[in-house]
């Protein structure tokens, strides 16, 4: 964060470099929304190699301290450009949970933990998941009930159930929020642990999602013994560690705008090449109006999110801006993709080229996946609660 803002020419040059890196190193398959996790051992190997290449070239993990592999000239706008270009190229995006785990380790981990765990993140030998949500603690994360009991030898035994664990089925390590003081409630008495997922007593059960894909899992902890040096920070410090960690995810939203632009691209492709009554759908006034209206919504969401990122960079964030950005992205994504799925059923694409079929396929998958955006990471309703309370300062009932 200390580096000065790069010039436009420097940013353009950086953009060219990440584009070249993607062209050379991205795996030979397209990223699919709702199918982000690898589906074969070959894909998994390719993903790990790809992620490692991004770390090695300084495109990911560039914001880390230099002694752990970061770049001294890193600027937050670089992260956004990397994110934009990876998404635009439809290359697989780095796993958010790895980023969160890395930052938690960097800020709260002991020297021993950092030297033991961080290199394996950069080499992508370790993929991380976060073990936060539980069946009764979704958006209300402070309701965590998984128990951690300290043993006489200082080690810990963890019991309970976690759910909605993104990438849990192929992750190597988990960052777990556990209640270590059984007499505590809500935000107190929570601690954060490093949980190797191959520990005895860890059972991962995939949850098949609406796209007929495995992205998320239930994780059962049954008497899982964790060595004393796998607790991060102090017992009871868990809540503030996780909240600080979630703060690091904020810049991701900026790059996500590209996903909205890709949706519009696909929508236009389908409307231009698909026909209704023998005429391209886009030449029907009602369809043309709706597609344009959605494109306008995307432009406006982008305008707000761009401003938001600029204000963050300038340290001039307004309370609740992040929630408005998240709502704008998620709701627009849902709206555009829902119309895309609907439009796909209305048009005839018999004679169109295979690119059109691909666009239809993506719109359908994006729509089915869109609830991942409006529900996870703080649901739209949670965002509205936050904005009501913090931005509009409305009274509580």
């Amino acid at each position: 964060m200390s580096a000065p803002r790069p010039t436009n020419a420097q940013l353009a040059e950086f953009r060219e470099r990440i584009r070249a890196h993607i062209a050379e190193h991205a795996p030979p398959f397209e990223a699919r929304e709702g199918h982000r996790a690898p589906e074969t051992p070959e894909q998994e190997a390719a993903l790990r190699t790809w992620f490692a290449s991004l770390f090695a070239a300084g495109f990911v993990g560039a914001d880390w301290p230099v002694e752990y592999g970061g770049r001294a000239d890193h600027h937050p706008l670089h992260d956004r450009i990397v994110s934009e270009e990876i998404l635009r190229a439809r290359a697989p995006r780095p796993v958010d949970q790895v980023n969160l785990a890395a930052h938690v380790l960097l800020h709260f981990g002991s020297e021993e933990q950092k030297s033991r765990l961080l290199p394996k993140i950069r080499s992508s030998e370790h993929v991380w998941c976060q073990l936060l949500s539980e069946p009764d603690a979704g958006s209300d994360i402070a309701a965590v009930r998984c128990r951690g009991t300290r043993q006489d030898d200082g080690s810990w035994v963890l019991d309970g159930q976690k759910t909605w664990i993104t990438d849990g089925h192929w992750a190597d390590m988990g960052l777990a929020l556990i209640r270590t003081d059984p007499t505590s409630s809500r935000h107190k008495g929570l601690s954060v642990f490093v949980v190797p997922l191959d520990s005895p007593g860890v059972e991962v059960r995939p949850i098949r999602t609406v796209n007929d894909a495995i992205e998320v899992n239930e994780v059962w902890l049954d008497g899982v013994r964790i060595p004393a040096d796998n607790i991060i920070g102090e017992p009871g410090q868990g809540w503030s560690i996780i909240m600080t960690g979630l703060d690091f995810e904020r810049f991701g939203i900026g790059g996500n705008v590209i996903l909205l632009e890709l949706l519009i691209d696909d929508l236009v492709t389908v409307a231009r090449h698909g026909t209704i009554d023998g005429v391209p759908a886009l030449e029907h006034a009602d369809i043309r109006q709706t597609v344009a209206e959605l494109a306008v919504e995307v432009e406006v969401a982008k305008a707000f999110i761009d401003d938001h990122v600029e204000r963050m960079v300038a340290g001039d964030e307004q309370v609740g801006d992040g929630s408005i950005a998240k709502l704008s992205f998620a709701e627009t994504y849902h709206r555009v993709s829902a119309y895309g799925a609907q439009l796909s059923t209305m048009v005839c694409t018999v004679t169109a080229d295979p690119g059109v079929a691909l666009a239809k396929q993506r719109l359908k998958e994006c729509w089915l996946w869109s609830r991942a955006y409006t529900v996870s990471g703080g649901s739209s309703e949670m965002m509205r609660n936050i904005l009501a309370k913090r931005r509009l300062l409305l009274p509580t009932s």
Binding site: A12, V268, L282, D321, L387, A388
Partner: protein, 334 residues
Amino acid sequence: MGAEVEAALDDSVDIDVEIDVDIDLVRDAAREFLAGCGSRDSLKDLAAMDWTGLLVDESLGGSGWRPVETTVIAEELGRAGNVSQWLGSVTAAAALSAAPGAVRDRWLPGLLDGTVAAACALAADVTRVARPDAADLVVAFGDNGIRLYEGVASLPREPDDELLDVERPVWRVTLTGADGVDVGDQEQARRLLALARVLLSAESLGTVSATFERLVGYLKERIAFGAPIASFQAVQHRLVELLVFEAKARAVVMKAARALAAGDESAPAVATVAHAFVATHATAAVDECMQLSGGIGFTWEYPLHHELRRVFTNASLLGTARAARAQYADGAGW
């Protein structure tokens, strides 16, 4: 997205987006000044603030080309419910500053000191004009350029019954057969109409913002079932949706203003987006405020219906949302 729009809007992170601190000062000063004006809506007062010359070269007595500041002023005028001919005058002054010497010298000084009032309109045989009775001039933006019409009072006109504003009523004015003079070329017309639409959108945004602020204050105070109405979640989420609209509208309106200020090639496309977005949603936003205000919002004495009338009217004054969307689609190369 089409090639033109993509080229124009792509890689926006590379464009220097200056969120100027001075803008906040302009906004605060304008708000304070307008609050002090009370219900007195004098164009001369605004001209005395140099607000009609915000788009006129300094060598001609204006402040230079300042679309960002102008857009902030427009929002504040909307917030204050101002009914003066400022929008027409500031755009007419901009058009005249590049016009042939004779016509420029005849009208520009009066526009700058507020003794001459202008309206702006779309070029057409019969066109919508706000308060033609209070305008000396009409500047009409068309595909072929900008035309200036004098002697507006003598042009045939009839009230526009579709548009609802009663404080700044709109008339249908017949331009066919009227003597007009060309004061700007196609490119000028394109640029200034884009700006006029951004200013009109900013004005609507300011109006919505005023309605919304009053509503939130009212619902925090008003008790029902033993609790402030604003404490009910069903109401809170609806208020937040209005907040989100306001924040997004301001972001896109200011983005368009910055693009116009920079002479960026994306400016017309961004202006179209701002116009389409605000014209699509502003009326529904004030309408929603009326519902959430309960019975009081439904009365003639409460200001809300004037705000509803204003944004409803603005949404058609310089083109509709429908036309803006079509224009966007054309520009995108679809």
